[in-house]
């Protein structure tokens, strides 16, 4: 299948992964573009239905003794239709989370794209765990989990900050986007979404894992100082408090 010539501004496609300058037949899309879209949609649908392979993730983080838990959503179909169950810890999992006193815990949840988490959560988790001056609870891998499941996990582990690395809705151009949600002093059933900070579009065409790690750690550091997260904590201010990244000064000079 050959692609038809695009619009005469098709050189702009180099600037973005967006579907620009697709060309026209009358006012409509050329056949090849319609089929290209259908293929991407079929792949994204398949990604949304995929399941996480927790064994591989746990093996990648073995040195930190990760804990495996599940939400109350028993399978993918239930997870998609019952977000309330995805926010609650399955009954038999609570005992796996030993209570302690930690600065933060990292929860890796499949969310809406198991593939994104499978590929990228472990390396990002390692970047975060290497942060000095922060005592982490054992990382938690959560199956059929939503963001608010991290509140319950953090509360049970006795962690002040919850960092949830979770698969974002698969898009057509990338099925591998991950988000990080940072919540200070999370309270299960009480904490609102506006009380979280989010670093989104990690991986794929979005942020590199190093840059995502830098932003997450900056937000965590400021959150521990002001003892809050959410709309009151601005990412700009968090990044301004960081030391300049190596090489930045040279670039400015």
């Amino acid at each position: 299948m050959t692609l038809p010539p695009g619009d005469f501004w098709d050189y702009l496609r180099r600037a973005t992964p967006a579907r620009i300058a697709l060309g026209r037949v009358g006012d409509g899309l050329p056949t090849a573009r319609v089929l290209e879209f259908e293929l991407a949609h079929a792949r994204a649908r398949d990604a949304a239905k995929a399941n996480l392979d927790p064994a591989a993730l746990i093996a990648g983080l073995a040195a930190w003794r990760p804990v495996l838990v599940r939400s109350e959503a028993k399978d993918r179909a239930t997870f998609l239709q019952r977000p309330d169950l995805g926010r609650r810890l399955a009954e038999n999992c609570a005992e796996k989370l030993a209570p302690g006193s930690f600065d933060a815990t990292i929860v890796i949840a499949d969310g809406l794209s198991a593939g994104a988490v499978q590929a990228q959560a472990a390396p990002l988790c390692k970047i975060l765990l290497a942060a000095p001056n922060c005592v982490f609870a054992p990382p938690v891998v959560a199956i059929q989990g939503r963001v608010a499941l991290g509140d319950d996990i953090a509360a049970r582990q006795g962690a002040t900050l919850a960092v949830v690395l979770i698969g974002e809705r698969p898009g057509l151009s990338s099925c591998d986007g991950m988000g990080a949600y940072i919540t200070f002093d999370p309270k299960p059933g009480v904490t609102k979404d506006a009380e979280r900070n989010c670093v989104s579009n990690i991986g794929g065409h979005g942020l590199s894992l190093d840059e995502a790690g830098r932003r997450i750690l900056a937000i965590m550091a400021l959150a521990r100082t002001i003892r809050r997260t959410g709309t009151c904590l601005k990412e700009d201010e968090a990044l301004d408090l960081l030391l300049p990244a190596p090489g930045t000064l040279n670039q400015i000079a």
Binding site: L12, R13, A15, A18, R19, R45, G171, L172, G204, T231
Partner: protein
């Protein structure tokens, strides 16, 4: 107070008005999730029969969410326009439906009564209407707003360029904006959803669009859809803010989950007014809503998702916005399961918003975990444009690479304008012709010579 209906076999009793409205609502996932949906088809019709006999005035006496506990209820009741309500004050919900479809309900009449229609009245009557009723009545209503373009005129369809980029890269966003302009889109606004809610990023994006607009004298308004507090910081720094954006919902608690309240929105509205970037009387706010937002924040107070959505329109109405759109399929299958539910919700939201006097547009969209595809979007897009929808989204190739969902594309906008004989906003249409993007037959067929080539030269090759 309870409500009852005898269907001839069974006597149904509905404990209160909330229950009655929820049971009367067309079947949808979110109401099942909340445990509010009718348990049988017959119960649903029985609820509609009881609802049809309910006087509209009852909605003012028996608020669904307590007055003391909720500032949205207080807003609805304290600002209710009794004079505008007078012509319909004696009607039941069923009589109101008949009136809306009648010859008596002209565009002028509907505009006059709009401030008297409380959201619960709009929601109630919509539950008694078929899809064609929602279209027929909305079609009669014209809500026109203005900034640099005039939006909502009959026979016109405006489009928001949504040039999102996963890392907010200026070059990538710029390329998508140019592509949209070359496809005749942008007359609703150029509206970017930022990947990062950072005032510095927002300011940089707005300044770049401002440069482009001034250099080529494009009649457009721009908006970066950051949180209202971030936009307020950008205004403090003197950024070129045309529109203040915010997502809103139908209860105080749901708005709290979005990090806003009426006082904060009032403050932002005052701030953007004081910038004096628009002609006097221009509309300066942009709101997005969507069924299920309140439930997802556990802030629905036992009210069905469609009625909660209509209550969000009361919040929007306070600020005489330029643009309001439901993001109808974005929230996912937990709330709107498939193409049929998304289509119905889109028509309901457009109807309720227009009935209440709002300049309704729609983000006709779905996510990859919903049972929907482009065919479902074609159906809803066509029906909304027949109903006179003010604007739709223009996303390159219908694929939002930042938010990870599918909306309508620049091509879809050309299709809708073409099959229904709709034109862009007049100011923007004149610019498209002057720049050789639109031909003499008013088709978008950009020519290589003239303004279009100059515009493209703005981007590095």
């Amino acid at each position: 107070m309870s409500y009852g209906c005898n269907t001839g076999g069974t006597h149904y009793v509905f404990a209160d008005m909330r229950t009655l409205l929820a049971r009367a609502s067309p079947d949808r996932a979110g109401d099942h999730l909340a445990g509010l949906a009718a348990e049988s088809g017959e119960e649903r019709v029985a609820a509609r029969m009881a609802l049809a006999d309910l006087p509209l005035a009852r909605f003012l006496d028996d608020p669904l969410v307590p007055y003391e506990a909720d500032e949205v209820t207080r807003l609805i009741l304290d600002t209710h326009d009794c004079q505008a309500f007078a012509p319909i004050a004696a009607m039941t919900a069923g009589e109101f439906r008949d009136f809306l479809l009648s010859d008596e309900a002209t565009s002028e009449t509907l505009a006059c009564i709009a401030p008297g229609i409380a959201p619960e009245m709009a929601a109630a009557v919509s539950k008694l209407m078929r899809n064609q009723d929602l279209i027929a009545v909305a079609k009669k209503i014209s809500v026109v707003t203005r900034f640099r373009t005039t939006i909502g005129l009959p026979g016109r369809l405006c489009v928001r360029i949504q040039p999102n980029h996963p890392a907010d890269e200026l070059a990538g966003i710029g390329a998508s904006i140019l592509d949209g302009l070359m496809y005749g889109c942008g007359d609703a606004c150029i509206g970017i959803n930022p990947a990062s809610d950072s005032a510095k990023h927002v300011l940089a994006l707005l300044e770049r669009i401002e440069e482009l607009r001034l250099r080529f004298e494009i009649p457009v308004q721009s908006c970066v859809l950051a949180h209202v507090t971030t936009t307020m910081r950008v205004m403090e720094r003197g950024g070129p803010v045309d529109l203040v954006f915010q997502s809103i919902a139908g209860s105080e608690a749901a708005n709290r989950a979005f990090g806003v309240n009426l006082a904060l929105l009032d403050e932002a509205h005052q701030a953007v007014k004081s910038l004096h970037r628009a002609p006097p009387g221009a509309n300066l706010m942009y709101f997005e809503t969507g069924q299920g937002a309140a439930l997802s924040a556990q802030a629905h107070h036992g009210v069905d998702q469609q009625t909660m959505e209509a209550r969000a329109y009361a919040v929007a109405r306070r600020y005489a916005p330029l643009l309001v759109n439901t993001v109808v399929g974005f929230i996912g299958p937990e709330y709107l399961y498939d193409g049929k539910e998304i289509l119905r919700a889109g028509l309901e939201d457009h109807f309720c918003g227009k009935l209440m006097g709002l300049p309704m547009g729609a983000d006709v969209c779905y996510t990859n975990h919903a049972e929907a595809d482009q065919d479902d979007m074609d159906n809803l897009l066509t029906l909304l444009c027949v109903a006179g929808c003010n604007y739709i989204m223009g996303v390159p190739g219908a694929d939002d690479i930042m938010l990870g969902y599918q909306s309508t594309s620049y091509h879809d906008a050309l299709y809708a304008r073409s099959v229904l004989g709709l034109r862009p906003a007049p100011e923007f249409e004149a610019w498209l012709k002057a720049f050789g993007i639109m031909d003499a037959k008013s088709r978008v067929r950009p020519s290589l010579s003239g303004g279009a080539a100059r515009l493209l030269a703005a981007a590095p090759r």
